[in-house]
Symmetry: C3
Subunit: 461 residues, 3 copies
């Protein structure tokens, strides 16, 4: 019955083998894009009559890239430190899976999108897209936080990055869908993938570690570091890979507006749904971000700023109500144990984002966008030169269903793999406890912690 | 006598109503500036012969915007977490008031500065200015931290943003004053507004919660996150809305220099004024930032780097001495209870900043600035084409007095409104305590906390 | 025997005198570079036919500068908060020494590199280089963390910045070595300088404060803030002063790759070397960063991405193994007490970085770089027009030895100065304890802390 959680050989083996595989695959496939090559000066710049170094894509996208990078590593990492005894796992495992994931994503996305003459040519946009792809894994991690071993997380990352890239290819290339901020590709896919996985991994006796599923005072403040960095940098997230110029500008403004509105309705409903009117940190930490998720598709379109406010307004409500009523329901009736409530932060807002994107696309007109602007925004060129906004709206909507289908199917398969009893996940009574996988200092807090549970032995000295 | 601090209806009502008002006003008034519109490609770019997307203002200002954004939400939010039991309120209420404030500021500042053909046209510079405006509210929040309800804070934000915008309009448009980093508009106005408010809200029995006004070890480290992010990004703050090119460059350098000098004198006086020579975290957390406040007006002028060092040198001393001697005096004699000591960090340094700006402007010469540089720096064009540096210096000085007058008058009115006994602020003995407005986890620390005060019941399970 | 740790006169005196010296020297020497001067518009821009403000170096380098700034103040500061009772000292002293150091570095580096007509002309690149120089002091601080007084730290900063600048001048100007990310100038020099200093300051009875050398649960999470910000922004560090265009782009990509690989091997070896396979936070906090150090020299060269992965792969292993086996050996046999293990994070990876740089330079060919690219990358112009890649590789290797020699010699001298018994360092039993130099709040944690050591009196009320 007792599971072996000793990682001594499994974790090193998987890390070393996979990293060697990355080196080999990078060696065979990955080279610099011309803009990052020393030959740029002499070849690309001259051929394309580029007169200034500042035209290098690096200067358009690098500041946004760094903001996205902060969201993945600090944002997601610290957001999940809210658990009283899982801070090491939250930041540390997020660090591990994202570091592997970005390498595998550069390869997977590279084969689909940056493949030329047998090589993947990478530049700053590939780094952003790799971070985006890993963002979807971080979302899914939120559902199984505290219940999975690092080996499971690495395996999930391998499969999820692969499926993400396939889904992204279907949406962006086959359906020719617009989704620069990833409402569908990142959030909807990531959330329902993660929820399916946690459903498969259902632990009927998880209440044995219920006392550790809550926060303590300082862990809630650590989590706010994650929340605020996610909230602040979300305008960069939604604008990072938009077209140069007005599209990036507009996407940032819309995201800023949506997020601001979302905070107000989150606070309103958090207070309203508690009988003494007190605010719940879980809502403030999470539901305030739903507005960013939900304009991911439409932020770069001509969604007017008041439209963004409306989206944020609705999502703050939907997300907070979800935390209060839906999460307990999902757990008790559907056996979906969603540690961080990703269904409320990424699932529903992601679908709303897809719908808003479809409507905004369908409603696009030449009078609002200008002729050139319409073509540029939706890339109505080449095979798609004759697509109308209304048709585009239909394809956008189809993107939601494809993402959901991929998430459910992929999540079911990967959940099945992760259920194998060989990956070293903790027993139900040891979930949400760093001590299983980390050398934890024996300090005052662990001492006090054990006061609540005198049967648990302290970490070995 | 016992006040009703239950927010269940008041807070949701104000949040929802005001957000609906924002949506309506944004719907009527707010549109994208041409540089953020899909029509940019086809209209503005061609009309203005713009050959590259990188000329979009987004690329000049977005990195600075994000730094300013971090200062408002992480910087101010975490700086105020130093209180042992008010971390949720510090970060959370700052998050709430700033999220509302930026929306209202976009409208207020928009009507004054970006209004064209019945619409407010917004771009990245509007986002920065909205953050700046809210910065002044965050300053004032520091004076009443721990003593006010979230409803009071939202009401204060509504009025203060309004008054800020009027004052800013008087200074920038009527007096034609230069104040890119806001020594006068943000810091002087914000600080004396907040001090007037807290004077009106004087609580004679506040010593009943004196034990909670201090910090604990980890809360001081949380506060340092705020301090350091404010300190690091202040060069972006003071340069964010300066003219493109050399002015932004210069403002960043001067702010960097002033802040560096300020740390040294803060440490010197913190050690010197304690009998065992030990450093006080309150000084390190706050007075080190005074140098940034005090070059807010002059940083983009040709204040030489050594001038910045002198300003920082002086402000570190003034601010630290203020914490040691002036804050207790203000409390005991003038009944000004200034939780964060904003008079030392924003008040006096703000006035110094206004004075330094006036002197630097008055001393400007063509030999230092060049003819074009002088015109560009002080915008001596149109109606102001014949203004001399000396006259400009006079107007700069007038700006200080206008800001002070607006702050005192506005603060008195708003303080009077906030004094009404209907907004749900806490009783004196419950100040500086998150438990009043937040569901607080019952953890080891609160357990310990209650050891000091066994009469206080723990939060309901 | 009992040392006098009262800083009341020594610390203020040194801070004030030195800051006055800075003001005088800045007054005599420091002026704005043309790009930061109000005369830019009218002089430089016209003379050089610059058509757009965006060509100002500010826009090429400012975002990277801010990232580097975060690394120095948040990164190094919080990385060192892992000690249970030295968080104030870690962040606060780092703040102090860096604030002084950047001023002195602007002067020292200015005399060597930006001196024109008797003036040092500063712009954003000088700010980055000053931060870099101070980075090497922060590295050395890691070796003596918890064992030194703030006066000692300021004295070390004065000398180390001076020696750094001389060493940098020898490498960059005399040997014409490439080292944009500072594997040699920053990390190798900083680490071996610090290790030599701590060797000289050897404390035979340091085990008296052994109980405070560990972490507590929350201090480890604070430290992860430092780790993750260093890790995320390292691509900016290594690309900040590279040539405009492809070189900055490439340096960022290579650093990103190396760091990602490094995390995997760090986790692998951390788990493998503990008998229960548990991860050690010390390794995750430090060894994951070694990959950034080790591509500091070569990242801007045409090191291919798989090459970066290999470097990161190796450094994760070397650094983690160093923490497990080498640090205890250095302490017990060589009497080198290295608090943060800088030998593992900066020493060995720095040397590896120098070697990788030498090999990459020696292997450079026209077919890979293009003729212009080769000249531009290695600056084969003027006196160096005829230098071949192979010869460049030799000079690169020589740079390692020069840096080591400067570090050992300089460290020995400075260590000797710091050993004088007048600087107020703490007694062995009071090391790693904030209470010596800081007013520490008497809180629950210190209460608990004293449970372990009932003889220690609490801080005076």
């Amino acid at each position: 019955m007792a599971k072996n959680t000793n990682m001594r050989w499994r974790l090193p083996l998987i890390c070393l083998l996979w990293e060697v595989a990355m080196i080999i695959l990078f060696g065979v496939f990955v080279r610099f894009t011309p803009e990052a090559s020393a030959r740029w000066e002499e070849e690309e710049k001259k051929q394309n009559n580029i007169t200034s170094d500042i035209e290098n894509d690096f200067y358009y996208r690098y500041p946004s890239f760094q903001d996205v990078h902060v969201m993945i590593f600090i944002g997601f990492g610290f957001l999940m430190t809210f658990l009283q005894r899982y801070g090491f796992g939250a930041v540390g495992f997020n660090f591990l899976l994202a570091s592997f994931g970005i390498q595998w994503a550069i390869l997977m996305q590279g084969w689909f999108h940056s493949f030329k003459d047998g090589k993947i040519l990478i530049g700053v946009e590939n780094l952003i897209n790799a971070d985006f792809c890993v963002g979807s894994v971080c979302v899914a991690f939120g559902a199984i936080l505290g219940k999975s071993s690092p080996v499971q997380l690495l395996i999930m990352t391998l499969f999820q990055v692969t499926l993400f890239s396939v889904n992204e290819y279907i949406l962006l290339n086959l359906l020719h869908v617009i989704d620069a901020g990833g409402s569908m590709t990142i959030h909807t896919f990531g959330a329902y993938f993660g929820l399916t996985v946690t459903r498969i991994l259902y632990r009927p006796n998880l209440e044995q570690s219920k006392d550790k599923q809550g926060s303590v005072y300082h862990s809630d403040i650590f989590a706010m570091i994650g929340t605020i960095f996610l909230w602040m940098y979300w305008p960069s997230f939604n604008s990072a890979v938009s077209n140069h110029g007005d599209a990036q500008h507009r996407a940032a403004i819309n995201t800023y507006c949506s997020l601001a509105a979302c905070v107000l309705t989150t606070v309103a409903f958090s207070s309203m749904l508690e009988k003494k009117g007190k605010l719940d940190m879980v809502h403030i930490q999470n539901a305030t971000l739903a507005g960013g998720v939900a304009v991911g598709t439409s932020a770069e379109m001509m969604l007017p700023p008041y439209g963004s406010l409306i989206v944020g307004f609705i999502c703050g409500i939907v997300s907070t109500v979800g935390y209060v009523y839906l999460t307990p329901f999902l757990e008790s009736r559907l056996h979906i144990q969603d540690t961080c409530g990703i269904h409320n932060l990424h699932g529903m807002p992601g679908i709303i984002g897809g719908i808003v994107g479809a409507i905004t696309a369908a409603a696009a007109t030449k009078s609002v966008y200008g002729s050139e602007g319409l073509v540029k925004t939706f890339d109505f060129t080449g095979d798609y030169a004759n697509r109308t906004p209304m048709v585009q709206g239909g394809y956008q909507a189809a993107g939601i269903f494809v993402s959901l289908a991929m998430a459910f199917a992929g999540g079911a398969i990967v959940g099945g793999i992760l259920k194998l009893p060989i990956w070293g996940d903790a027993a139900d009574e040891n979930c949400f406890e760093d001590d299983v996988y980390w050398e934890v200092p024996e300090d005052e807090e662990s001492g006090l912690y054990h006061m609540h549970d005198p049967t648990l032995k302290p970490a070995s000295p």
